[in-house]
Assembly symmetry: C2
Homo-oligomer: 138 residues x 2
């Protein structure tokens, strides 16, 4: 049970835009678009973008947010929350309040998701019942 492989061991510590795009299954245009919107901000070596682990983490968060149906601007505020400075008490309290808001939102979506799954399971069962009965009579 401890046979979990390290999922995608990072063989480098920097990546080019092509490597990042290929690995995450998006185009370089998409990556640049996220940068234009301020969701990621890679370093530069000369004019070329250099991506580090931090950028990969953020990109993973972006894509997951997209799969969950969040707009990019909202995704930006969410992942900025994770990376925000947390020095002062007021900042910590703000972060916690924002996290609570996000949690409530995510829990609502989870209810939607569970409802959809339940309906789908019922539908599937109903189809199977029809299939069995028609099969038995044939």
């Amino acid at each position: 049970m401890i046979l979990l492989m390290a999922s995608r061991a990072p063989s480098h510590d920097t990546w080019t835009i092509a490597q990042i795009a290929a690995e995450f299954g998006v185009t370089h245009r998409t990556v640049r678009h996220y940068e234009e919107l301020g969701l990621i901000s890679p370093e530069r070596r000369g004019t070329a973008r250099v991506y580090r682990r931090r950028d990969r983490t953020r990109l993973a968060l972006i894509l997951r947010g997209k799969r969950l149906g969040f707009p990019l601007e909202e995704i930006r505020t969410i992942i900025d929350l994770y990376d925000a400075p947390r020095g002062k008490t007021s900042q910590l309290e703000y972060a916690i309040s924002q996290a609570r808001i996000r949690r409530v939102e995510l829990e609502a979506r989870r209810r939607d998701l569970d409802d959809a799954l339940a309906e789908l399971a019922a539908f599937e069962a109903s189809c199977r019942a029809d299939l069995d009965s028609s099969g038995l009579r044939t």
Copy 2:
């Protein structure tokens, strides 16, 4: 435990576009847009649209699909699946296979959602820990 109230008892059996839109918190333009894409197809009384319970059900499915981030075209195929004729065996088998595809997709999103919730909870806990320790030292 049998105290479940009928949620939103339907006081009519037909509705106007304005009533439907207001009840679901969308504009009439949105409702018409869904009709243009074939997601709902209300009856007509003269030229005016008349919405029945079936349309309300479909609209609820549409909006939930949207909250889960599905494009309208995909939502159409999903709810059409629910309403599709299920007479012949081949149709039943097709419906079941499609339902399985949807279920796999929804389960994947649920993993995303649970991951996001777990990370958010960890973040919140971390913030609270920082807040407590700074509070204790003050």
